[in-house]
Structure formats: C-alpha cells, structure tokens
Amino acid sequence: MDTTSADWLAEIFDAPPPSPDGPLLSLRDLRAQFGGVRALAGVTFDVRAHDVVAVVGPNGAGKSTLLNAVSGLLHDNLEGQIHFQGRPVLGLSPTRVAALGFGRSFQDPPLVDGETVLENVLLGAHLRLGYRMADQLWRRGLVKRREAEARERALSILDFTGLGGLTHAKVGGLPYGTRKLIDIARALISGPRVLLLDEPTSGLDPDEQRAVGRLLAELHRATPVTVLIVEHHMDVVRTVATRVVGLQSGAVLVAGTPDEVLDSAAFRTALVGGHRDDDALAAGTPPPVEQELIGGRRLSPGRKGDSR
Amino acid sequence: MTRLIVSLVAGMTLGGTFALIGLGLVLAFRATHTFNFAHGQLMLLPAFIVGWLQLDGHRTWVALLIAVVVSLVVGALFYWLVLRRTTGQGVMMGIIATFGLAFVLDGVMGIVIPANQYDIDLPGIPQGTVGIVGVRVSAESLTFAGGTFALALVVIAILRFTHIGIRVRAGGQNALLASQGGINVRRVHMGSWAVAALLAAIAGISYGSVTTVNASLVGLGLAAVPAIILGGMDSIEGAVVGGVAIGLVQAFTQTYLGGQYTDVVSYGILLLVLLVLPQGLFGTRNVVRA
C-alpha cells in the first residue's frame, strides 16, 4: 500500500468553514430504544474539528447504533440532541446528513455485487457528480466531464488505499478485508467533513490492520477530516485516535486521550465483565457512575452532573 | 333473507376452500419465504386428474389416490430440485421459480388432460337441498363448507399439538435455530411443500366437486392471496381467519353487487392491507422486513 504521501488528498477534502468555538459535532443525551432494548442510554460527548475519536467498548454497547444515529438511519427511535457545527441535525434524513458532509463505512460493506471496484467507489461521488438522469440522455458533454473528474479522484484514492490493481475487478468474489477497504475508499471519495467508520479493521489480519491504521494516520495528517471510528483493535486505536470514548450498555463510561482511557481501571473492568451495569440498565435504573474524572479534568465542557 | 343465507353458505364454502389454500400457501411461505404463484395450478392439476380418471371409468378412490400422490410428488420435487437452490438468491428468484412451475404445469395439463372441463362426483356426499331458516340450500355446498373448515382446523391442531407439527412450525420460523435443535430443516421444508400441494389438491377437488373443474380454478387459487395477506403471510391461524373473511366478502359481493366486482373488491382489500397493515392481522413483523 502506498501511503507515502497524500497531500494531494487535501484537494478532495473540504475544509470546514471556521465555526465559532465549539465542537464540530456534539451529542447530548442520545437515547435509542428498539422494542424492549435500550441501545443508547444517554450518550454525551463532543467531537472537535480534526479529532479522531475512537468509540470503544464491548459488544452490544451501542457503538454501531451510535453511528447509525448520527447518519440519520434511526428515524423513530431516537431522542436527545445531535449538533453539527452548531445546527441541530437529529431527525434529518440520511440524504440530508450525507449532504452536510458525512461519509460512512459499514461493518458489513454494502457493495454493489456485479459491479467493478471502480464503479463501487464512484458511488461515493454521487452527491459531488450532481448531474441528473436526464443529463445522461442529452447532455453527454457535461456528464463525460464530471465522470472523468470523478474517475481521476477515484483512481487516486484506489491507489492510496492499495486497491489500484483491482480497479476493474468485480466486487463479487473479493475477500472481506478488501471489501472493507473498498467501502472506506467509497466514503473517502466524497471528501467528507466527518468520516464515520464502523469497525474498519474487523475481520482483517494484523498486517491489514496496520495498513488501515497507517491509512487513517496519513488521512489525519494530510486532510482536515474529522473521524469518528468504532474500533475493537486497541493498537489501531492507539495509532490513530486523538481521543477515545468508551461506551458500555449504551452510555459513556470513560472518555479522554487514548492512553488515559485504555489504561484506566474502569475501562479494563468494563471490558472484562460489565454484568452489574447490564443488570442495572435492564432494571431501568441508570448505571452507577463509573466514570473517572481523568486527571481531575471534566470529561467534556458543559456536561450536567454525574448521575448518568 | 334468502340472499343472505345463500351468500352465507356460499361464503363459507369459499371460505373453507380459501382456508385450505391459505394454509398451504402459509406453510410454503414459512418454509422458503417464497410466495407460490403456481398454487392455482397445484389446485387444478389434481382436480383435473380426478375428473378425467372418473370419466374414463376408474374408481373414485383410485382417482383420488393418484391425484393425491401426484400432488405430493410435485410439491416435494419442486422444493427439492428448485427451491432448495434458490434460497440463497433472494425472494425474487424463488417467486420467479414458481412462475416457471405455473407455466410447466399449465403446459403439462394442456397436453395430458384431454378436455377443458370436468365434473367430479364424490360418493357419499349428500345431494339435494337442505332447509335453513326456510331457505333451500345445496346440501353439497354445506358439506364442503363444513368439511373444508373442519379439515383446516384439524391441520392447525396437528401443527400445534403433534411432534411433527411442532417441527414444521419451528423449521418455518427460524431455520437456523431449528437445525441446531436437531431438526432436519430441509426435510421439514420439503414436507411443508408436499403438504401445501396436498392442501391445494383437496381444495381444488372439493371446490371442483361443488362447482366444476376448469381453468377458473386457477383464478380461485389466486383469489386466496388477499386472504392470506389479510391473515398474515406467516400466520397459520391467520390463513383460516383470512380465508373465511375473504370467502364471505366474495360471496356477498357476488350476491349484492354482481360477479364482476368480486375480484376488484378482494384485490382492493389486498392493496389496502399491504399499505396499511402489511403484516396482516396475525402475521409477525419479520414478514415485512423480508
């Protein structure tokens, strides 16, 4: 994989407009309920511009649900607040959220089988290409121009992610790790302001994991993109994350820098066995406060008391 | 009053038939998540066989036996050869496979069965009329109304209370869990399809006996679709409730509005249910997501 240089990537990625001081993305008391299951039980944290925030926690902690909530995929079941650049975005349709500059990758890459890798990556350029179906009929010049531009970008990103040799291969028979990379490439091509990655390294062997880690590190170095990444592999987290949020049973357990969180006692306890909290939640009472005030600092500005 | 009673009896006859058809469709659906568009043909084929063999001079029980065996074989074979291979490819392909079955059966019937119309004469069925509240009603219709309905209830009882029945229901509900519980899911599914074909055969033969056996039986089979959607596509009890409901609706529409309205009313109900309550009265949410 060639991640020696990606300064050219910055051309693709929009710089977010300077926002008044305040986080780029802020989540307040996010709650989500499916049937009898409380998937999110009051998640609160901030993401500053150009952060790489890793969301970690045991299975069932609500991590993917969190990303789905931000993406706008949870229509009815969501309560609380999500603010992007100060504007409320909870309840917006996923299309509007995408238009605001959110890119997304998924745990099980939803690729279009039967199409090539290139075509799948170009799907990420849907909004940027912008022309209409009718244009494909009689404004061929416009379409060809925009397609050529998008193609250039796609090919560069394919090289950046190491998929260059598979450009015209059909996505169908490719291994899982490759499919995850294609999903990531697709999210990158739109030059998003916020990248939401759902377990990009799950199912990959250690070499592949390191490669993704390097990719993300380079992305962080070369572009202003803000990343919210759900991750299980702690070495990847240590490599790329600027901050870590630990979720358990749908609520924030700990937050802070990677070293603070990953080495904290609360986090290790949670990973090993968090039964007490699960029982508490099932009984409908909020879990006892298990947050550490790391190094005496509050977890994020403006949070209410520690009753959650 | 006459019209009311006549409609009721006709409705119950239809309802019983729809209940049987519906049970078959639901069993098939629970097995393979495929909707069987060839169900009308699965009704017509055995009915044709009985009518033809009877006309040819064979004894009734022989004709019935042959028809039943043919149905079971067609149902089981179709699952084994075709549906077993399409389960990975999505709902659409399974349904399209049933289109293929419909065409094949139509063609085979056209070639093998000499005539277009037959009558079936089942011995032991009371003839003549019976008086209900002063209205003369065909005894045969009453018998079949009662008979099909009773049979439907028997099938439900079997599914609920016997070992085999429980396996069928489990296999249809969650194949993965069932197979881990030691149930040979494929055999169960094949059995489901065979039984579905059998129920269609019974429905076709009995309805054909009350009226007549011709291509309109296929339309009848299709007319059961609103019934099972109303009841819930994966609900066994729903099939009976929906069947009776649509049977009555059709009969009353026929009497009070005229025959040309029966289809549009039934399918109008289908559309309404699809839009407002897709899982039907008794179906589960899983149906909708599939």
Binding site: S5, T95, V97, F102, L123, D159 | V91, L270, L271, V288
Partner: protein
Amino acid sequence: MTSTSTRPTRTTTPGPAGALPALGRIRPAWWGVAVLALVTLVVTNTASSYNVFVYDSILLAVMGAVALQVLQGTTGQFSVGNAAFLLIGAFSAVFVQREGLPFPVDLVVATVVAGIAGLIVGIPALRLRGLFLVLATFAAHFIATFLGNLYQGHHPEYAATGFFIPVLFADHPDGGGTAWSWLLFAIVALLILGATRIVRERSGRALRMIRQHEHIAPTLGIKVGRYKLLIFTLSSMVIGFQGALLAHLNGSVQVANFTLILAFQYVLMIVIGGLDSIPGAVIGAAVVIALPIAVPHILTGLHADSVDPTLSANFSLIIYGVAVILFVTASPDGIMGLLRALGRRVVRLPGIRDAYARAVAGTRG
C-alpha cells in the same frame, strides 16, 4: 515516509492508439442498433408477411421488456404490472380514437395516461419491498382489468368481441409489414439507446444500490424515493405507449387479451435474457415471442405429421417454465450470463488473449 505533493503514479498504463481501440470506444448499444437495423432490412425484404408480423410482435415486446428490465432488473422493483399498463395504454388509444382524434394523438394520450397510472401505483408502492411490491402490482393488475371490463361493458355491442380500431398502414401494398417494422425499429432503437444511457454512470449506480441495499443508499446521498418513482413512471409510460401501438397493430382490443400470464411472460423475458442487461431484455423478448412459433417447426421436424397448434402452445409453456427454472437455479444471469461466460472462455485461448489485452489496455484509462 517521504512527503511530496504529487499524486501517486497510476498503476494502469495507457495503451497504443489505433483503429481497434477507436472501434472499441463505440458503445455496444450502437452496435446493437446497427445489428437490429440490418435484421430489419433482411426481414422486411425476405420474410413472409406472417414472419414479418412475428418480427413486429418481437419489436413491440422488446419495448415492454426493456421497460421492465430497468424497473426490475436494474432497480430491483419486482412488478407483474406489464399487462395492466398495456391494457391502460391500449384502451386509452381506443378511447381517443373513438372520440375521433387521429393517429399520433392517441399514442401521446395513452403514454400520458399510463404514466399517471404509474404514479398512482408508484407512490404508495414506495414503501413496499420485494414480495409486497409484487403483490401490490398483482392487485393493480386486477383493478386495471376491472376498469377495462367496465369500459368494455359500457358498450354492449363490443362487450363480447372487444373494440376495433383501424390497423395502421393496412392500406400499404404489402399489408403494412414493412412500414411497421421500420417504425418499430426506430422506436426500439431510441428506447435501447435511452435505456442504456440511464442505467449507467451516476443514475445507474444509484439504481443498482437501491436494488441491493435500499436502506443504506440514502447515506450516499441517493434520493431513493425519487428514483423509484421516476423509474416506475417512465416504465409505465413506455408500456402504455407499447399498448397503444399494440392496439394499432392488431386492430382489436379486448380485456381478455391482457392476462396475468402475459405479465408473467415479461418477467420471463428478462430472466431468460439476463437481469439488469438491456441486450438481455431484447434477447429474452425475442426468445419468448418466437418460441411458440418455432416449436411447431421443431416438432414437425421430429415427427413427420403436422402438429396441433394447441399442442405446440402447451409445449412452449413447458419450455418457458423449464427454461426459467433452469436459469434461476443454474445461471441466474440468463442468456447474457452464458454468453459472457463463453466469451471469457474464448478470450482465454492463447492467441486471442494477447490481442484482447492490448485492445483493452488501449480503451481503458
């Protein structure tokens, strides 16, 4: 890691310029149209008037097959509504003709009416998927049939036999076959080119994403509802247009001709030809329409005596059914899938492989 500002070098290199790459840049659709023109030329000049009629029927069916292909094969909206929209188009044409309006006007009206009907069906259908969508179009079929019967019943003198409208081009010396063939060729050519253009690039990708991952598509900015409605309406308009033309080709329109089996046949066409393939739709239409014609010849070839027409009709049904089942279980990409697999085998042969690789390198960037 060294840091530069230049993009990484491309891993694929451009190939030599020349005649072969230039030919390769002509889109396959145009080749298809050229072949079709050639076939039309041959048929209109050499075939019997009956066979020309068969050819015209094939061209007509291609319209419905292509419409269904884009709707179902590409966008994944499973529909058995073809017969219903054909009926709507045909009856609209009849209605307009009976009002005294001349030929092209009824085509326009039929298309518009069918489009409106498509919208009426499409809007509530937006929230239905898979099986439920099929059932909704299934219900729509019966409702359309009912309306047709209502209209036909209104005119008791035609209730039994259906309506008659003048057959187009009937006054031509050859009975109109040549004129029909070229008219239909022009229409089908435009349709093929148009359809090919919309199922690729941005729209095509969006449609395919809708087909395979409809709930994820919005996160890419794809407006799913709009695309579905657009495709539904467009395909209904094409099928309605086909219905009006059908009325003019046959001269007679009656509800009994628009059966559910007819709708199933269009599904057969796209499955046999190959899903999500415009040439597949054309091939499928040709196979399904021509089969009942070809079967008697095959049968008489096997047995000396002449064959009862209903026997061959039934044989065709069996062949359709078996073909569909075979394609669904063994080769889900239909005839086009088989051809492509064959093509890949051929390309692997040594001499061809190098030439092909050179040609491919020259046309790709």
